[in-house]
């Protein structure tokens, strides 16, 4: 006969409290803009600001560009390493761990100092920003794709396609891609969540983005920043839920380590 796991419940409840107290508080706070009653005024104000849409739009743009470049960089590399060049694996893995070793603020510092002056100036265009985001996304993207590649027998699939006369383009598009769908979507949603809330790169390189916008609003107004923070949480939450939803049935959950924020 098992005893009632009182301590387990105790710690679980503490954890629950820790998780939800800030969220409940943020919600409650965001509703208090008009004294004495709960209204959605803060949300109305937030949605009225044209800057909100502009910054949000820019973050969407940055996120899309980051995802495309990250995919183009990571998918062929991971595939090639798995298929033809296992020797390169330690080096690739080393690179994907580097963003943890070089924190965002340090990388920004390095990028601005290096590419802020000739011969190669990248800070006058959003290139340096996107590049930073891609670096930030590398660990997540690579590990998603790599675990996806390991889960299917990529070699046999490739050889089968080749023996049926498929070229590399067809192999990647019609054979490898569909098998990697879950892995790719995981990497994409995670990168999306990270870029949408990112502050360090955009703020220090002075590009419009959602993260710096929330921070600016925070120094100007009360209540609206909390309303927007809650939206930001919903974006993160939605992305993670989507990852779990597309990955349901797939075995094992990946632990993602990346750069600190």
């Amino acid at each position: 006969m098992k005893r009632f796991p009182i301590w387990s419940w105790f710690w679980f409840l503490i954890g629950l409290l820790y998780f939800f107290m800030p969220l409940v508080s943020t919600l409650e706070f965001s509703l208090r803009m008009i004294k004495g009653k709960y209204t959605l005024e803060a949300y109305r104000v937030a949605f009225q600001d044209p800057e909100f849409y502009r910054n949000f739009g820019f973050s969407l743009l940055w996120a899309s560009l980051t995802i495309v470049i990250s995919l183009l960089l990571v998918v062929p590399t991971a595939y090639w390493v798995q298929l033809k060049l296992p020797k390169a694996r330690p080096y690739v893995e080393f690179v994907t761990l580097m963003p943890f070793v070089v924190p965002a603020v340090v990388l920004t510092f390095g990028l601005i100092r290096l590419y802020g002056r000739p011969p190669l100036v990248l800070t006058t265009t959003p290139t340096a920003l996107i590049v930073g985001y891609v670096v930030l996304s590398l660990p997540y993207m690579y590990r998603s794709v790599d675990s996806g590649l390991r889960a299917v027998d990529i070699r046999t699939l490739t050889e089968a396609a080749q023996s049926l006369g498929a070229g590399w383009g067809t192999i990647l598009k019609d054979v490898i891609f569909p098998n990697l769908r879950v892995a790719l979507l995981s990497g994409i949603f995670l990168t999306f969540a990270i870029v949408m809330g990112e502050f360090t790169f955009a703020a220090l390189m002075s590009w419009p983005a959602f993260g710096p916008y929330i921070e600016q609003i925070g120094s100007m107004r009360a209540y609206t920043p909390q309303a927007i923070s809650l939206m930001s949480f919903v974006i993160t939450w939605g992305s993670i839920m989507l990852i779990q939803w597309v990955g349901r049935g797939a075995r094992g959950q990946q632990i993602q380590i990346g750069g600190a924020r």
């Binding site: 820790y18 800030p22 070699r155 929330i214």
Partner: protein, 309 residues
Amino acid sequence: MAVERSPRADADPRQDQGDAPSARPPGKPFSWTWVGVAPFFLFAFLFLILPSASIVVRSFEGPGGTWTVQNILDIFQKSDIRNAYKLSLQISATTAIGGAFFGFLLAYAVTIGGLPKAVRNFMLTFSGVASNFAGVPLAFAFVATMGNAGLVTRLLEGTLNFDIHQAGFSIYNFWGLSIVYMYFQFPLMVLVMAPALDGLRREWREACENLGGSTFHYWRYVAFPILAPTLLGTAILLFGNAFGAYATAYAFTGSFLNLVTIVIGAQIQGDVLYNPGLGNAMALGMILIMSLVMMVYLWSQRRAARWLR
């Protein structure tokens, strides 16, 4: 293509253990297969290695293009900078230990602690979300929680008639920021520890009991030694996580707290140290500490892989 599998006498034996043996015949000086990964490494070289290397080189640059080690010495000698490192290290250690401890208990509760499966799934999902919820929004969430007009502040005032701000407690300090950091620290521990705790086999416990061991013996001599590398590795990961954090601290405390990342951020926006070389040296210090963190983490992962799989 099956010919590829045929082992060669002179092939590296390590290569044949993986599921994908090298297509590259040994002894050939250059193989075109490396071209396939060239874009990736070129990108990494340009935007990761080169910026880091430039930080290293410029740390030794003195005024007027001279070479000096004074910047490195300044880190230890200038009290501002020494204090920044001290505070960053303290807050990282505090939240790493706190996060690891609390995260472990939670992971234990939802895996082998006898809670229903739904609770476990819920906790793991939420940990995935919380560990990725950091930066500016997190800072504002905590302002709404325990700031001057925060919900918890008002609840404490209303129910216990206890005004935390009258009691001389400000949240925009070391402990306040630690509480904020913990929000993304302990979920990471839960995510790592849950599979590790699942990996503890029933047979090990039974074997221990058959040999007359108590629960204490099981944890002391079986489970803990197996879990120790994972615990250590994750704690050190949390340490690095907090050490490199910038956005959360900046949005929460502004520049009240003298953290290394905050100083570097200020240095980027305007040369607050009045010495570009010193800024580079501070960044170099971060890279070195993070490298150390990564080495311990990788080492502990290898140790952990022996038992848990």
